[in-house]
Amino acid sequence: MAIVMQDIKKQYAGTSAPVMEHFDLTIEEGSFTVLLGPSGCGKTTALRMIAGLEEVTGGRIFIDENDVTDVDPGERNIAMVFQNYAIYPHMTVRGNIEFGLKNYQIDKEEINERVNYVLDMTGLSEYADRKPSQLSGGQRQRVALARAISKSPKAFLMDEPLSNLDAKLRIQMRTDMIQLYNRLKCTFIYVTHDQTEAMTMGTDIVVLYKGMIQQHGTPQEVYNNPSNLFVAQFIGDPGMNALRLSDGGYVGFQPRLAQFGKSENGLNLQGTVLTNEFMGHDCMITVDIGCGSIVMRRRETRKVGEQVSLFIPQENLFYFDADQNRTGTVQTGEVVSVFHVDD
């Protein structure tokens, strides 16, 4: 089901400026859309407005072409998984799942059937009669997922559901989540600040910054073809290096595409190695180029303190105009400084 946010404005009571204005977003039916951005960018607010937990100040929200702007969260045919799981601490695992189903006045037999089905699906059958306090973080997260699945909603809304888990479990749950999506084939809207999660799980990524959509595209599009400097620097591990030029524009390049050596056709830089972090497959090397430091990821290493020459081939350079928007025209001028969007 398609979800449409139309000209949304949101301003919290007692604040002078809206957190978002003229916000338009269309989420395709059956997509795994990730709302990605740094904290305070409005991604959670957007999700909560879709859920109905947050009122909109202006604009309309449509789910399946129905205007749900003033519809209660329970009537929107959606399910939500919260960052802190939000399971009822006083109910058993089974009770947690049943609670919502009972409110929807589904008959007893079907409730039982559904509960057993989702318990089985999430591997929680043997924990059905346990209280949340007797479960691990990962198991609690699965309870929250089971509760969401049991309602067979048209869309799943997830607010950083993996961020409270430890690193290993997070990767495991990431895979589980993708399998779940492939199995259920319904709309997923997923909020995260972790670009790796966004890239690995999403079919669509919406990059948000300061309450505005910076880019909406597939993971490949936002990675290979960032529409502005913010997206370029936010996506990637780490994101692009950007150099401010004396003529007002910017030039950017991905850390993996910078090479040691010199070249006629490309951008040449010189500097001193500051740090050299071994990452397994390759190394993350920070190089001080005089007007700041840039990051590169290479398999070959250099010693800390070593003077190095490096270049980026012309075809791997991304140009941005003075407004930090992507441009096809080659920007010229001397390198003035190393630039970070959040500075």
Partner: protein
Amino acid sequence: MSTIDQIDFRTFRKLELKQHGRAYKILNGALKNPYVLIAPAVIIALGTTVFALIFCIAMSFMKWDLIWGTIEFVGFYNYKYIFTDTLFLTSLRNTIVFMVVAVFIGLALKVVVGVFLNKNKPGHNLVQTIMFTPYIIATVAIATIFRYMMQPTSGVFNLILSTLGLPTSDWYLGAQTALMSLAFITIWQGMGYGVLIVVSGLRSIPDYVYEAARLDKSSKPNTFFRITVPLLSPTLFYLLVTSSVAAFTTFDIVAMMTDGGPGTSTYMLAYYVYMQGIRFMHYGRAMAASVVLLLITASLSVANFALAGKKVHYQ
């Protein structure tokens, strides 16, 4: 190095004991003994409560004549006496009625007001401050004020009732209404404290639980009874235990306002103990009655833990 070692070091520096001297070794050994460290607390606890308790139980089997200074063992005589004393039985009945009313109506009111205040944040602090005030006023002062306000002919209570065209009451001066008047004052007095506890209990319930309930299409009453009340249950249980014990040992409001009257309509156990012991000098009977009072309050707490305690959800 444990913290105890560090404390030792400073202590001995003050005492100017040589670190390897004999006194050092003895003191050092003693201070590392946990029983030595808890001794002060244990001595105070034994002296103030355990000794008093044992003394009370022992004296309830004695006839103690203060004038002649004789103490005589009388077995269960005192218990036999009080259980055949109509005044004691009336006191017991009054106390139970008073407790049930003061505790349950009080608790319900505290929850209602607590929920209301928790939702209405702007007026919350002011209202809570006003409501808490009676709790810090001495019961003596409260009793005096209410004697004026509840005065049937000139009190403000009846004045308001008659102005509104409602039936008036004899309040604490009527045999039928006196006990309930005292219960009313007790509830009013404990309201601020109870509401404070309820509000802090409500605050400890995270918002996301309510958000999950909204997404689960839970109606407001359903959310209240299936989410709020169970999650508030440790708080309610605490209030239940403490306020029922407090209600059972009510004394000052009786002594200040009614002296157990009119007739014996507000005679309660703690007041009975006081009258037997201090007024009539029947120490044995007073001790026996207080042992009964102790047993009732203890079993009340045990019953609370056994019955209500099972339904409490500690997070």
